[in-house]
């Protein structure tokens, strides 16, 4: 690879070159504010260009993967291999009538489908697709991510409240209770990452992983798990989809939304899943960096592949797990994730001090820390399982066999007292 290609604006490995060229060109003749506006616009267009098609493919992928998990074929009628199914879905949703319940709060009812889109788009701004491919490298990027993705709750709440529907209100109440709890767990998880890496810039976290030559999931498995579960909760996906728990409260907060308004919620749900997968990949799987491969393969492709992996995990969870009850979810969050998060914040602080202040040899210290952290993770989860009794009734005894005993209460009592050999 010759040097002139690396710096060129058409280098596919760093698409920010295009933006830089255009911005410099505008700056050469125009005012400075116009240049920065153009730079921002290019970033926004770039993000939209990524999200739009990816969403279409995602809908198809999710349906297809779920179908495979469920021993069926999935969409295969519209277009080759059903690839045009999302387009057909979108057309259907657009053509559908948009009902507004008579008792709904009209103004607030219109707001949420639009409102949920804002955080869903904003968080993309701090996602680094490559060393320079980031719309805004905020030095409080992690906090920005938490703050912006947290406002999603408000839109959902308004949707639930404005529908004037009890199911929707239940969904709204549930989503608030759950998201606030899991947000704390997520904050603690990211705090651990920030403590260890010493930066709140998201690109800085990737660069730290590059510098230390390891991905963070190895060093902080519990934190990665907490982040994954917190993201699942924030995204309302099974096993934590209690906000729209289909079998309980119909569709939760978007029960009353129809047509493209529902479509927007649906799209945002998928877009959020995608962006959370991307952040999961960035924080814990090394983001755009992959042991030097990013010098050869475009960094954004590396990120996309990692994102797809995490996304597959989300689909997998959805396809296999039933839903937890809200009190079980809360118990899980407050009794496992939050205490474990606090523990790992402390651990990360200690480890960073050892690395920085006492300057331990990293080639030895990091693997040792990884092993210790993994052991603590296993111990914490094991202790939780023991305390709550979860896992204690793994493979519980199946039904007894009557074996010729027949009758009512008397027979039932006899059977209950019979030695377990009669099973």
């Amino acid at each position: 690879m010759s040097a002139w290609l690396l710096a060129a604006w058409y280098d596919l490995r760093d698409l920010s070159g295009i933006s830089r060229e255009i911005t410099e060109w505008v700056a050469s003749w125009g005012p400075e504010w116009l240049a920065s506006a153009v730079s921002g616009a290019i970033g926004a267009i770039g993000i939209l260009a990524v999200i739009g098609p990816t969403l279409m493919i995602l809908i198809w992928t999710e349906r297809k993967v779920i179908a495979r998990l469920q021993v069926r074929y999935g969409p295969n009628r519209v277009g080759p291999r059903g690839l045009l199914q999302p387009v057909a879905d979108a057309v259907k949703l657009i053509l559908k009538e948009e009902l507004v319940p008579r008792a709904a709060d009209k103004w607030l009812f219109f707001l949420p489908p639009v409102l949920v889109f804002i955080p869903a788009l904003l968080v993309w701004g701090v996602l680094p697709f490559g060393p320079h491919m980031q719309v805004a490298d905020l030095n409080v990027g992690v906090l920005f991510l938490l703050a912006v993705s947290g406002t999603n709750v408000l839109a959902v709440f308004i949707a639930g409240w404005a529908s004037n529907n009890k199911y929707a209100l239940f969904g709204a109440m549930r989503v608030i209770a759950m998201t606030i709890s899991y947000e704390i767990a997520m904050v603690l998880a990211l705090l651990t990452v920030v403590f260890l890496t010493g930066t709140m810039s998201i690109n800085g976290i990737v660069l730290w992983q590059q510098q230390e030559d390891l991905i963070l999931i190895v060093l902080l498995p519990m934190t990665a798990l907490t982040f994954l579960l917190g993201a699942t909760a924030e995204l309302n996906r099974t096993p934590m989809d209690i906000a729209e728990a289909e079998s309980e409260i119909v569709a939760g907060y978007h029960t009353e939304y129809s047509g493209m308004r529902f479509g927007l919620f649906y799209a945002v749900e998928l877009a959020n899943t995608l962006v959370m997968s991307a952040f999961m990949a960035t924080f814990f799987l090394g983001g755009w960096w992959l042991w030097g491969l990013d010098a050869w393969v475009p960094s954004w492709i590396i990120l996309l592949v990692k994102t797809s992996l995490v996304y597959f995990v989300f689909i997998w969870l959805r396809g296999t797990l039933p839903r937890l009850r809200i009190d079980q979810l809360m118990t899980f969050c407050w009794k496992l994730l939050v205490p474990a998060g606090l523990l790992f914040v402390a651990i990360a602080a200690v480890e960073r001090t050892l690395l920085l202040e006492y300057a331990w040899d990293r080639t030895i210290a990091l693997p040792v820390m990884a092993v210790i952290n993994a052991a603590v993770t296993v111990a914490v989860i094991g202790a939780y399982a023991r305390v709550t009794g979860a896992g204690a009734h793994r493979a519980p005894a199946g039904p007894r066999m009557a074996r010729g005993r027949l009758g009512g209460l008397r027979a039932a009592r006899q059977l209950a007292q019979a030695p377990s050999g009669s099973d």
């Binding site: 906090l143 703050a147 406002t151």
Partner: protein, 186 residues
């Protein structure tokens, strides 16, 4: 702090913030007022951003928009029959007077302050500086605040929790025999 973009942003944010704040006063619907309040918070966060205090801005959104307003919504929902209307109260005029005094004080301070004394260039890495001063310089107030908040939290839980006997008595009234004859027609 100059340039068309900054001015444009400042004025639009100012209009949003003040307009939303007025909306809170005008709205008779508590939930609408809450939404306005949130909008106002977001406007303030934008103003912080303009001042290059991105840490404060993000924390403003995280804490005020993400947590406090949600808690307020929760409180509104959990309060019986307060969900919709902003009732007339005797506190209306005293509140108005208090508000006038606060505005007067703010205006007075704004006019009297020697703004030239404020440092011109924005603080780089405000988060780091805030963090360091919290842990080093102001560690005692920080800890006291933490203890106070914890105490408030525990107190809230203690208040919200009823006695066990109370709940038992309530649940007994819900047993099958107790409820059956109160079924009534559909």
């Amino acid at each position: 702090m100059d340039g068309v973009g900054h001015h444009l942003a400042f004025w639009s944010l100012a209009v949003i913030t003040v307009g939303a704040a007025l909306g809170i006063l005008v709205s008779r619907n508590l939930i609408h007022a809450m939404v306005m309040l949130i909008l106002s918070f977001i406007g303030v966060a934008g103003l912080y951003l303009l001042l290059s205090a991105e840490f404060i801005a993000v924390v403003q959104i995280l804490v005020y928009v993400g947590a406090i307003s949600v808690l307020m919504l929760f409180a509104i929902l959990l309060t019986p029959r307060a969900a919709r209307d902003n009732a007339e109260t005797a506190m209306r005029y005293p509140g108005l007077i208090l508000m006038g005094l606060v505005i007067a004080a703010t205006v007075f301070v704004a006019l009297e302050t020697d703004w030239g004394a404020v440092r011109e260039e924005p603080v780089a890495e405000s988060a780091r500086i805030i963090g360091q001063s919290l842990i080093n310089e102001f560690v005692l107030p920080f800890e006291i605040a933490a203890v106070l908040l914890t105490a408030a939290l525990v107190g809230a839980v203690a208040l919200a929790r009823r006695d066990d006997e109370d709940i038992d008595a309530h649940e007994q009234s819900l047993t099958l025999e107790g409820r059956e004859d109160s079924g009534g027609s559909s």
